[in-house]
Amino acid sequence: MKEYKYIGKPEIRIDGKEKVSGAAIYTDDINFGPDLLYAFIVESPYAHAMINSIDTSEAEKHPEVLAVVTGKDFPYKFGLYMQDRFIFAQDRVRFIGEQVAAVVARNPKAAKKAAKLVKVDYTEIPAVIDQMEAIKEGSDLLHEDLENYDHVPWFFPKPKTNIAHWRKIRKGETQKGFDEADYILEDTYDVPRYAHCAIEYHAATGLYDKSGRLTIWASSQSPHTQRHLFAEALKPLGFTHKDVRVIAPHVGGGFGSKAGVTMEILAAAIATKVQGHPVRIMWSREQEFYNTYQRLGVKTFLKIGVKKNGRITALDHKIYWDAGAYVEYGANVVNAVGLSAIGPYNIQNASIDSVCVYTNLPPGGAYRGFGYSEFLFGLESHMTRIAKHLGIDTIEIRRVNAIREGDKTAYGANMNPNGLLKAIDAVEKEIEWHKEYKSSDPNKVIGKGFSLLWKAPAMPPNASSSCFLKFNEDASINLLVSGMDIGQGYLTVMAQIAAEVLGVPPSKIRTENPDTDRNPYEWQTVASHITWGSGNAVKKAALNAREQIFDLVVRTKHLPKDSLYLEDEKVKCTQNPNFELPLREFVIAGIQMSDGTFKGGPILGKGTFLPEFSTAKSNPETGQGGHPNVHYTTGAAAMLLEIDKQTGKMKVLKAVEAIDAGKALNPDLVKGQIIGGLVQGLATVLYEDMRYGDKGKLLNPNFTDYKIPTAKDIPEKIVPIIIEVPQPDGPFGARGVGEHTMLPAAPMVANAVADALDVRIKSMPVTAEKIVLAYLEKKNNRMLK
């Protein structure tokens, strides 16, 4: 492989100094001065109810209140993939916490106080909070008007049902595949909802100034998509895209929760009613839990048929999602999973039904892993169970079936080059899979768990990225991009890419968070595509600048173009070792000719990227024919789990995860993703659990009752492994890894528990209590026999 100067190196983060010194500004740190107003939201106390009337008169009388708004002020819909949601509820509420009105006051306490004076008269109607109930014939409908909702063409809602989208895959002949099988395993798996728990709350401040400009400062993964949705939703007020501006400061964690639009649209809308004043809206931790996207709950029915040698002959995967009251973003999770719930396996016959169901719980949306964690829990549990039944090694069965380059995916496209087999080998070796592990404590046992992972970026076929690159007088560079550094190190890696192409060290490149007015378009920072997509745009911008530099040198110095190269901030020439032209001498002011005139001018690079081969067009009944996913990232993971037989208490002794990054542009940052993602994944299976009451109320919306891991709860040892099988169309071969790192955690734990105690936990989270109960039951049964 080619030796790079800045690529593949652990360059330090360019936001480092800012973030450790207290200089980093997050959305709520911006100072808006004494004229700042505060909005407080009146929320629905019912999961499902009709709104008979709203009386705002008392609230309006409060001396510090400037405005009270309700659904009547904004009868406008929004939604990224499915327009099923109003900014404020109109005549009906569909989840506890839904926005009904807002009160704007000079200080937060007054806003909160006045909000209590808004009187809403509701008639409660039956709530449907279980997706399996919701799809039953005759179930109460959440959206009677479903057939009239605008949505992307690759969604297939079923009018007069609670099904918002149904992604079908039919590959080969599934029944024939099962007929050929020597063994068939059929079972169900349950995964509850989860919360993102970014430590920074959602925050947004809107300002509709006297010139008619609407600016929103938001903690955001999607500045341009937000601008688009704001402009579209508020079009009736006369806005066009150029009038709406989103500025995104540092983001204190996203994990999908700050993708698309949730509460930010409230700031945009409310601002239009208090022209001239900035108005701030910020969630509390409690609202973070019940009023932003959550990870969708899911129930899966999985059936796999295999030959004696472990070769899979058929798969039937039925996946029912509890997508919540509005599925404007979450339906795409359902879609993405439908396309990929075959797993990283080469299976000729497969049938997948991924069904997006409305329930009266808060809207589900993107969460790191975008649905893959959920189906992999069942699929990878199943693979281990099948291997055990057949007496095949659990890793071997995966090797036998692993998808290879050129094999057909579920929807019939070719699998990209990938390092799946290499990842399997690396993990097997590092964990010493064939070694017997025994605890020194007789009360404890050690189980080994294994899982594969794969994931594709889930994005529309025309998700595009762009970059402007401008040189400064000293040949330092400002890179203008619109991806978000939500912690993964995006800004640093983009600088490394430009540095490599232009021979300018990353320390001389500044990349900052975007402002949609100044920075060029980026779809969103989601899907783990940003290194790949935006990285391609940055690389093109750098190449474009290099081209301009070379053209100018050819024109003025009369050297052959193909003899020129860039190194150490200078133009050099292979034919003339004495030729050295420092960039700083001409990138702004041009090159002086012998007659005293100058040629050239400021060098400005431009690069755009759109995956032109991608299409979501396919047969709705089979899913065949399109190329919806640009590529897959693959990997493998294993762990040693120590379990106390008496209490079920678990301790992860060692976890190993290998990911095929294509090319790790910054290996330290990739390793940081692996460790952070794996711990987040382990949290969902070991600690976290959203509990809802039967009336649809979240019972544990705080960190006291919803536990996320602390520094004391992490594995004793995590070994991150990077595999590099280049992605042909990636920048320097790179593909994304951010979300993937959490995917294998849940099945790995379930498999380790089964290995240690021979009990199979089929619902998440895998708690000590569940383990002990299952273990005792097994022991008792054995005694009875």
Binding site: D15, V20, I199, Y201, G253, G672, G677, I708, T710, A711
Partner: protein
Amino acid sequence: MKKISINLNGEVRYIYVEPNDVLLDVLRDKLGIKSPKSGCERGDCGACAVLIDGKSVRSCLVLAIEVDGQEITTIEGLSKNGLTPLQESFIEHNAFQCGFCAPGVTISATELLNKNPQPNREEIQEAIAGNLCRCTGYESIIEAIEKIAKK
């Protein structure tokens, strides 16, 4: 309203506070010190930690009126004369991703190292167990502190 004085990052500041004003809000909104963050407002996350007379305290649980006459240090204060070795070590070890927890973690780690310059891994884990970080998985944070401890 009551007038109080605090020594904030080495400078004496006088302010008027209501009896129920929370220190975190006063620092952020009245004194313009933005590094202490709000992540829960009930003592669970540690994002709001500051040093009060050298002790790491969750500023969301303290009334401003209680700190009259005391010395408060935030990370803005730590890096007054350039970054501390701990802060440098955080950068070197990528001990943050989104960075939102970094001020609170830094405060907890500073208190630990002041009390115990050579903590072992368990002591480090214990010291920062009250600081939630959703991004890093803590490993890099522990390493960054360990590195300083060894020096």
